[in-house]
Symmetry: C2
């Protein structure tokens, strides 16, 4: 029997931080037909709240170190402020949304990242997705809205990359659904030249990806995103798209389609 | 056909703010059999975070004025920090909890309190409880954990008294369940003499309540709580208890039972 379709859309900081952009995106998201899940990052708001609270944001190789105080700020900003405002906005658009962390319905368990050269602190690497519990919410016609927080099953919340959450949800739920995973960000897609927004690579298979990666085409921020995408495709996700937030409703414009 | 039982337990700031007390309470709550819902207040944490962020807490007649900045803090602290940590702790105790505001699954709609003598700001008075949506979660064997935030259906979150949320949930869900509503707070029950923790009024009907109220027995904090309780009883809630957090598992000690 053919699986039902489920769209998983991930939005990043650029959409979260711009109220007009967020409202426009959510309007398009509300019109997306069928089963759907939204995953959001946190953006710079956590950094500014942390700064106001006198908590220094420590970065190593461009990644945030999550000490106990920083985890509290992330829980407040991602799990509370950003998540619940998105849920309220979606309700106003008649989407029966429900805001979740990985602790809710035990949906995403992770393990605290082992300390090697760097101690990232309270950062979690995803271990398992309770896709059957999430499916109960979908079957009840609720639209899950996930923020980038997971838990270890022993009472500890953990900060987890939102791109990874989107791909792990996609992989887990691909056992039940035909998944379409869309990463929305500030560019029109994966670019051949990072400064030229018209240089969108419209189709890229894993062979092409490896070749371009070898040639150093992709900058540091794009590499982990693409790794997540191909990992998802290898694990059973049907389609992965990367582009600006409007591609969820308008497939006329350029964007990147990834395939194995 | 006899209705199934549903326990609704409300805990206040005194439990939230003391980590050991919270852990002990949650352990008892986890052992409570059958369908259950937890409602929590926020406590002083919101005030301390607001102060650190340079937001002045304005009180009128002992009630907090919720301006836009204060609402953000409440959304962060109640909806994020407090709620999600409780959810993670309950998961560690094998309770399939799910953290909610009234915006999630459109569960509790409210209207912004009209400005009369005082403008309370973003404070919501409960208008409707979507008990059928909440019941979908209960039927899926999830345990809802509500914080004291509602929404107006037009995208606006609103700060709402946690005692009221507990009683309105109880009233709404009494259409489907036989409800046992328990208010846990720092005293052993409703007291005849506020300074004597042994002076627990063990049974109080609405006639006794009106008489004692007329004699000025109840202090300002207790009155709205008792109004909520009797309102709930009048609207179909089966039993209402008031006492310290341990009464949910130990009915040997003194506590107050209210009835019409």
């Amino acid at each position: 029997m053919a699986k039902e379709k489920l769209s998983i859309v991930k939005i990043g900081g650029n959409v979260i931080e711009d109220n007009d952009a967020l409202n426009t995106f959510l309007e398009h998201f509300s019109k997306l037909e069928g089963n759907k899940i939204l995953v959001h990052g946190g953006g710079k708001r956590a950094t500014s709240v942390a700064a106001k609270l006198g908590i220094e944001s420590k970065m190593v190789n461009g990644r945030r170190i999550t000490d106990a105080d920083t985890l509290e700020v992330i829980t407040m900003v991602y799990g509370g402020l950003v998540n619940k405002n998105i849920v309220a906005k979606l309700q106003a658009l008649s989407v029966e949304s429900i805001g979740l962390t990985g602790a809710d319905v035990n949906s995403i368990r992770s393990v605290k990242r082992p300390v090697k050269e760097v101690d990232f602190g309270f950062v979690g690497d995803v271990k398992s997705v309770a896709y059957q519990s999430i499916d109960k919410l979908i079957k009840a016609h609720f639209t899950p809205v996930f923020c980038a927080i997971t838990h270890d099953g022993n009472g500890q919340l953990l900060n987890t990359n939102a791109d990874t959450i989107a791909s792990e949800l996609a992989i887990g739920l691909s056992k039940l659904y035909e998944i379409e995973l869309t990463y929305c960000f500030e560019k029109n897609g994966v670019l051949m030249s990072v400064d030229n927004d018209d240089s969108v690579i419209e189709y890229m298979d894993s062979g092409t990806y490896q070749g371009l990666k070898g040639n150093g085409v992709f900058h540091d921020g794009m590499l982990p995103k693409l790794e997540n995408c191909f990992h998802a495709l290898e694990q059973g996700v049907s389609r992965v798209f990367i582009g600006n937030p409007l591609i969820i409703s308008n497939k006329e414009q350029k964007f990147t389609t990834l395939y194995l």
